[in-house]
């Protein structure tokens, strides 16, 4: 079998429009959260690298960037689990680290946490109330993190 036929065999298609309707609903919730908490310089972005997701990012006075990400996954396929919604949070600060020989190297201090996962069927039964609760919880979690909570470190 040629490589092309193999690729065709494994092929599945993404219903971009359907998923985008769901991201529209999440977008409304994120806008409400940003407004309620008076977040400044917010950025809402969706479909980065074609991933079915939407994120709310904002900088803070402590120079830490904070993000709430809601992403959609294909579920197990049974009627009640066609799609899954995941809400996660990230916080990070890019800085420099002085190594032994005095050279400064750029590093990222960051942290990540999964907040909630929820199965749903179609855009029509999208659990808006659940999303509001999950994103509020995400906001409370990520906004409580201080610099010492950014326990992971990676070289840039």
């Amino acid at each position: 079998m040629t490589a092309r036929k193999q690729a065709t065999t494994k092929r599945f298609t993404v219903d971009f429009e359907h998923l985008d309707e769901t991201l529209d609903a999440i977008n409304e919730v994120m806008q409400q959260v940003a407004g309620h908490h008076k977040l400044r310089k917010t950025e809402i972005e969706r479909w980065r690298w074609d991933q079915p997701s939407i994120s709310l990012t904002w900088p803070c006075d402590d120079f830490i960037q904070r993000k709430i990400l809601a992403s959609l996954d294909i579920g197990s396929g049974v009627p009640a689990d066609l799609y899954r919604l995941n809400v996660t949070v990230d916080a990070w600060k890019d800085d420099t680290l002085v190594v032994d020989d005095g050279i400064r190297v750029p590093v990222r201090y960051w942290n990540h946490e999964r907040i909630q996962e929820k199965a749903f069927t179609t855009a029509g039964d999208f659990p808006v109330n659940y999303v509001e609760k999950a994103i509020q919880q995400a906001y409370q979690t990520v906004s409580s993190w201080k610099i010492d909570d950014l326990e992971r470190r990676v070289a840039l």
């Binding site: 971009f16 479909w47 690298w49 074609d50 991933q51 993000k67 990070w92 960051w110 990540h112």
Partner: protein, 116 residues
């Protein structure tokens, strides 16, 4: 060193599009086919997933594509933020137009011809 770009792909219909139309472009109509690239070459899909903060390991790397062959950037270059439990840290850009690859079209067979 001149700038070159790479695209990392997991979605097979996009790869089929590349083969059939000699076109590099996202297949997502909801973003007006916005297409993401990076200036970094990763030989490991795990590193690509980490640096680009992707949900899954990419299956293919497309490129290098010279900067001269790229349409104007719509977004970036910018540092990749963490996502999906990945730290990010790579460089990403986005463009809203396709990149066309060189090809030889056979009029009789109505298909792209493989060259030796």
């Amino acid at each position: 060193m001149p700038t070159v770009y790479y695209r990392y792909v997991s979605y097979l219909p996009e790869l089929e599009q590349l083969r059939d139309e000699r076109k590099i472009q996202s297949t997502n109509p909801t973003t007006q086919y916005r297409t993401w690239y990076t200036t970094e070459r990763y030989d490991s899909p795990d590193i690509a997933q980490q640096r680009l903060a992707l949900k899954t390991r990419p299956l293919y790397r497309i490129g290098p594509i010279s900067a001269e062959a790229m349409p104007d950037l719509t977004l970036g270059p910018r540092r990749v933020a963490p996502d999906f439990g990945q730290p990010g840290g790579g460089i990403e850009v986005a463009i809203d137009h396709p990149v066309w690859l060189f090809g030889v079209w056979n009029f009789d067979n109505q298909e792209w011809e493989m060259l030796p």
